[in-house]
């Protein structure tokens, strides 16, 4: 970064994270999510060709949440070089945190007409366990969603990074962590509904959860959260913090010997990444209507890494594209050829790793550079820009 006027207000610096073209794209996306989708879902009659179905809104809303997770993953993997294979844990914790509130909102409308959630009645519990206290408050739920995953990520990260655990060892430990959490949440005694998890939600802030209006609001919130995540991530990677983070990825010892303590940089990025996942999880649960321990399964966490790898590591927008591509493919495959989905996913990962080191974003850049070179050759000149593009 070249010297800039030192006293630029922070909000301006945040805004200048994106160039004008990116802002136009973001504006377009926001207009789609906040205006077009509500109109096309609520105002147009169901038989209108432009009507958006509930199925569409739920599917895309879900993928928007996944995209947030993918960006959070890119922040630590693409820029920090830390591959987490346990990010599903933070996503699920966010989901459970908000799910507790949704369970309490059911009130006496459950099957047993009790003040307690159904699964507690089923287990013959007489009162709420201590960690459910306050869960009927929306604000408390928001607090839980943010604080619990942050705390767990911070403590885990502190010990892992302080012990200088890196690379594949770190990945394996994160995998073990999410697996252990899954086993814990499978137990009925843990107090989170065992293997059924939470479901049959009725209301959110008093509004019926399946009402089209509620869905549209949740969809818009997911879109806004994604935009916010992208903006924050983009600011971070372009700040000095981001440059230190990539420097740690590339030459950690050099970073230490010029006086930075990598521990705090990694820990900061890691904890932020976990919190972003938790927010995504909290938005995800009311839209899909269920949260259970399978969200913490190892396969789920690996899939997150695949979205990022397919889209393009270290690009921020790539992971969003990757999350959409893989999940749209998934929803098509699991309907048409359910038994082949995992084979397809595996193949995709291998192909992306071997032939697309920068994912589809890198492929796109290569194609464009190639085309520009082609045009240049046709005109009898090779532009410096094309040569540079091909070099990069």
């Amino acid at each position: 970064m070249r010297p800039s006027p030192a006293r630029t207000p922070f909000i301006v610096r945040l805004g200048s994270s994106f160039d004008a073209r990116s802002w136009r794209l973001i504006g377009l996306f926001a207009a789609f999510a906040l205006i077009a989708v509500p109109v096309m879902h609520l105002a147009l009659p169901a038989d209108h060709p432009l009507h958006l179905s509930t199925w569409f809104i739920t599917l895309v809303g879900k993928i928007l949440c996944y995209a947030i997770v993918a960006v959070a993953m890119d922040l630590i993997w693409g820029y920090g070089g830390i591959l987490s294979l346990g990010h599903g844990l933070f996503f699920a914790l966010g989901g459970y945190g908000f799910g507790m509130y949704l369970m309490r909102q059911i009130g006496r409308d459950g099957s047993y007409q009790s003040d307690l959630p159904d699964f507690m009645v089923f287990l013959d519990w007489k009162e709420l366990p201590w960690f459910w206290i306050g869960s009927d408050s929306f604000l408390w739920a928001v607090l839980l969603v943010l604080v619990v995953p942050a705390l767990i990520a911070f403590v885990f990260g502190y010990f892992a990074f302080r012990s200088r655990i890196k690379g594949v060892y770190f990945s394996i430990i994160t995998q073990a962590l999410t697996y252990a959490a899954m086993l814990l949440f499978f137990r009925n005694e843990t107090g989170f509904g065992g293997n059924n998890g939470f479901t049959d939600f009725k209301r959110i802030l008093g509004h019926p959860i399946t009402a089209p209006e509620t869905r549209v609001v949740l969809f818009a919130l997911s879109a806004l959260a994604l935009i916010g995540t992208l903006l924050l991530a983009r600011y971070l990677v372009r700040s000095k913090f981001g440059r230190v983070l990539t420097a740690i990825r590339d030459a950690e010892s050099r970073v230490m010997f010029i006086g930075y303590n990598p521990l705090w940089y990694k820990l900061c990025a890691w904890t932020l990444s976990a919190v972003l996942c938790a927010i995504a999880g909290a938005l995800y649960v009311p839209q899909v209507g269920i949260i259970n321990p399978s969200e913490m399964s190892v396969a789920n966490s690996i899939e997150i890494a695949i979205w990022v790898a397919v889209g393009g590591r270290g690009t921020l927008i790539g992971p969003v594209i990757g999350a959409f591509l893989v999940n749209l493919a998934k929803s098509w495959f699991t309907v048409s050829f359910p038994e082949y989905w995992l084979f397809f996913l595996g193949t995709l990962f291998i192909v992306a790793t071997l032939y697309l080191p920068q994912g589809v974003v890198g492929l796109w850049a290569r194609l464009r550079a190639g085309r520009r070179r082609g045009e240049g050759a046709a005109a009898g000149t090779t532009t410096a820009a094309a040569a540079k593009g091909a070099g990069a």
């Binding site: 030192a6 000095k240 010892s253 050099r254 006086g259 900061c268």
Partner: protein, 280 residues
């Protein structure tokens, strides 16, 4: 490093002004104390790896402003010595003091870097995916905590400093190139430039001219000579012509301890040194 706990309390009659008395001056926590004109003390350092003694009761002192060359055959413990000074390796025994008061064995790598010890690695270690400019920016002496980095902007004074260093290491034309695209010699220079941006008081340079052309080597020598005096330099080198150009005192390490010390002519005439280098 809590100097407040140290002497003043047990000194009955502290004599603050004299430079020679035991408690002869006020201690400032974390400040480099060069009152005895010595910047680095290594005393009886022993480091063993699985029974192999990489350093064996090594004792060495470096004066403030000195340019010292360290030579020695492979495995003599030169790199391990640098690891001990910079906090990468903890000695099994012995003490390392930076100035009179700072015990380096108690500090972490970033803390040691922060109080003024800069290190250049044997293999040039730079940030290949950052531009030359950014490499220098990251190395610059400043508050390096996370919170600062989140909101840091470059002021014009910092920009000037980077521009100055770019001139000095002759990379001004390459400021916006990715550091990974530089030649080997240029990478060495960039790493030296990063070291200078840290404004260290003591520079440890592990084979700084390896892979450089003769001309680059000579220019590097000139640079180091111009730094001596303001900084203290410890140069580990195999290139005898370069050591000769630098001209300072030479320490010969062998099997983890000091074999000989003196001018280059003196050590080259030393019978034990000849034996070690030529084999028995």
């Amino acid at each position: 490093m809590n100097a407040a706990d140290l002497p003043a309390t047990n000194g009955d009659n502290p004599d603050w002004d004299s430079g020679t008395a035991e408690l002869g001056h006020i201690l400032m926590p974390g400040q480099l104390d060069l009152s005895h004109k010595v910047i680095l003390y290594l005393e009886d350092i022993t480091v063993s790896f699985d029974g192999f003694r990489a350093l064996n009761k090594l004792s060495l002192t470096i004066d403030a402003g000195e340019l010292r060359c360290i030579i020695g055959p492979n495995g003599a413990g030169k790199t391990t010595m640098m690891d001990v000074i910079t906090g990468k390796t903890r000695p099994d025994e012995g003490t390392v003091f930076f100035g009179q008061t700072i015990d380096l064995t108690r500090l972490s790598e970033p803390e040691i870097a922060h109080i003024g010890v800069g290190r250049k690695f044997q293999k040039p270690t730079i940030f290949e995916n950052h531009t030359v400019f950014e490499n220098l920016e990251l190395a610059m002496k400043t508050d390096k905590r996370v919170w600062r980095s989140l909101f840091a902007t470059l002021d014009s004074a910092a920009g000037d400093r980077i521009a100055e260093t770019l001139q000095l290491i002759r990379l001004a034309a390459d400021a916006d190139r990715l550091a990974g695209l530089l030649s080997h010699g240029q990478k060495q220079w960039l790493e030296i430039g990063m070291l200078l941006m840290q404004e260290p008081k003591l520079l440890l340079l592990d084979e700084p001219v390896a892979g450089m052309t003769d001309e680059e080597t000579e220019r590097t020598g000139e640079l180091f000579l111009s730094l001596a005096g303001r900084h203290s330099l410890v140069v580990v080198e195999h290139d005898m012509a370069f050591v000769k150009q630098l001209g300072g005192r030479v320490t010969v390490l062998h099997e983890g301890s000091v074999l000989a010390e003196g001018s280059l002519e003196e050590v080259q005439a030393d019978q034990r040194v000849i034996e070690v280098y030529l084999g028995r």
